[in-house]
């Protein structure tokens, strides 16, 4: 790990201003992803701004009838909140399927959204990676590469990595928004679709955040009634990232919403796929995975996604 200076700030706007002002600064919240990457020297910040003291660790009701989740609320606290368990169960389910008990105590809402990909070549600093070193090339796209875990849709010729968050998939199906403060003190609200960027030619750009911009909260709209479920398929029964995951909210009349994790650079959802839900899993996936570009090694995710949704729909 390279040396860095450190400060702890108590105000979000001040944190954002500092992050824009100090060269190569980064926020640190739970540290569970950033420190891991700093040890590998994949992230090399010169200055860390600890946002743990900014008081953003509460979940409060909004005027619209939803919830405002402070960016510092831990994944454990969020999963255990009685309002979330009752009205946003898909979110509780997604959270408890991720990482471990120890990690969920530290992992924060903001940090979870911004955790970086688990592509093995991104982690292997001996291999070329466009996300790590723009323009270097992508080891995952070379012949014979191990791509079993990687993306099948929304990917590009520069990068086929997935976004690893479980929480974000549930937030996507809930139509959550991300609230931020910019370095000049402006408050912004972004839908998850606006927040996450597709790789295109610039896989190093993952979100719409500007320099210094800090996440202050995630906003949940009023509860959506119906069955909430999250089904995560992985290589072991616990403590592993998703190969494919499905977040589902389904009303008694069969209509609803579906988002996929483990397949794309961001949580994957389409309106026309949602509309096909009453016709079943294959109708949904025909739309949701239309335009998929899997590799030979990860084409199984097409089948797995459909079967995972089918399995969820068959439950009850």
């Amino acid at each position: 790990m390279k040396a860095f200076s450190y400060e702890r700030v108590s105000d979000p706007a001040q944190a954002a201003a500092r992050a824009a002002e100090v060269p190569v600064a980064k926020f640190i919240a739970g540290g569970t992803n950033l420190l891991d990457l700093m040890k590998h020297e994949i992230e090399i910040p010169k200055h860390l701004i600890d946002v743990g003291g900014t008081g953003l660790d509460e979940i409060t009701p909004t005027d619209e009838g939803g919830l405002r989740i402070g960016a510092l609320v831990s994944n454990a606290a969020l999963s255990a909140d009685t309002r979330v368990r009752k009205d946003y169960a898909v979110l509780s389910r997604a959270l408890v399927s991720g990482a471990s008990g120890q990690l969920r105590n530290k992992a924060t809402t903001g940090g979870n959204l911004l955790q970086r990909t688990r592509c093995g070549y991104f982690y292997d600093t001996g291999m070329p990676c466009n996300k790590r070193s723009p323009g270097a090339g992508c080891a995952a796209l070379s012949k014979g590469a191990a791509t079993r875990q990687l993306g099948i849709i929304g990917t590009s010729d520069a990068c086929i990595a997935t976004h690893p968050s479980d929480m974000a998939v549930a937030l996507c199906v809930l139509d959550a928004e991300v609230e931020t403060v910019t370095s000049t003190g402006e408050i912004r609200r972004l839908t998850l679709d606006e927040f996450y960027q597709l790789p295109g030619d610039t896989p190093e750009v993952e979100t719409a955040l500007q320099a210094g911009e800090m996440i202050t909260a995630v906003l949940l709209p009023p509860p959506v009634e119906g069955r909430h479920a999250y089904y995560k398929v992985r290589d072991r029964a616990s403590y592993a990232f998703a190969l494919v995951s499905v977040a589902l909210i389904q009303a008694p009349d069969g209509t609803g919403r579906v988002a996929l994790g483990g397949v794309a650079p961001k949580p994957w959802r389409r309106d026309d796929a949602d509309a096909a839900l009453p016709q079943g899993a294959s109708a949904v996936m025909a739309r949701l995975l239309d335009g998929a570009r899997p590799t030979q090694e990860n084409a199984y995710k097409l089948t797995l996604a459909e079967r995972t949704l089918a399995a969820l729909l068959a439950q009850e």
């Binding site: 040396a3 860095f4 400060e7 420190l35 040890k39 008990g101 120890q102 990690l103």
Partner: protein
């Protein structure tokens, strides 16, 4: 020097790359001046010579470094020491009272819940927290009803202990040990 929890927790910058801060470990207060890079795990082991907490992977993947911070279990390897100004930390060295083991330590002995013992401090710290988390109603991946009280079961314990790996595969006896403590409590 007395310090209350209300004091703003701002470590003092010594030079650009290191800071001075205070934390409590096993009821004893320490003031440390360390390179900002020092993890909580390295501070415990290298500075405070509390080598009970182990380093397995140093990347959050094994749980050998599990300690309790302000009552919550975390991986000490993925946390910077400087971020723990004012925190109250318990490690395996703080588990036993003079003259007798913590019930979880005793249960691990009773059930032979280890072989090499390397993962054991982390397992015990985690197991103690798991029973508290169940009691506090924290849901897990295997909790069937999110809105009902949680019942202790083998499945709940296994799932909640999944962040602690054991290369020797002592899992079956670890489960028995945790069940023993859970039964005595209930």
């Amino acid at each position: 020097m007395n310090s209350s929890n209300n004091v703003e927790r701002h470590p003092k910058t010594v030079n650009p790359d290191s800071s001075t801060f205070s934390l409590t470990v096993n009821r004893e207060r320490h003031t440390l001046t360390l390179d900002n890079r020092t993890t909580l795990l390295d501070a415990l082991r290298e500075q405070l010579k509390l080598t009970g907490t182990k380093k397995g992977c140093d990347h959050g993947q094994c749980g050998a470094c599990t300690v309790s911070v302000n009552g919550e279990r975390i991986n000490a390897c993925l946390s910077l020491a400087v971020m723990h100004e004012g925190d109250d930390i318990s490690t395996i060295e703080g588990a036993a009272e003079v003259g007798h083991l913590d019930p979880m330590q005793q249960a691990f002995v009773d059930h032979d819940a280890f072989q090499c013992g390397y993962c054991t401090p982390g397992q015990i710290c985690s197991a103690k927290a798991v029973l508290e988390e169940i009691q506090a109603g924290l849901p897990s991946h295997v909790t069937k009803d999110l809105n009902a009280p949680i019942e202790i079961s083998d499945a709940e314990i296994r799932e909640r202990m999944s962040g602690n790996l054991c290369r020797c595969g002592a899992y079956a006896n670890i489960l028995k040990a945790i069940n023993q403590v859970a039964e005595v409590r209930s």
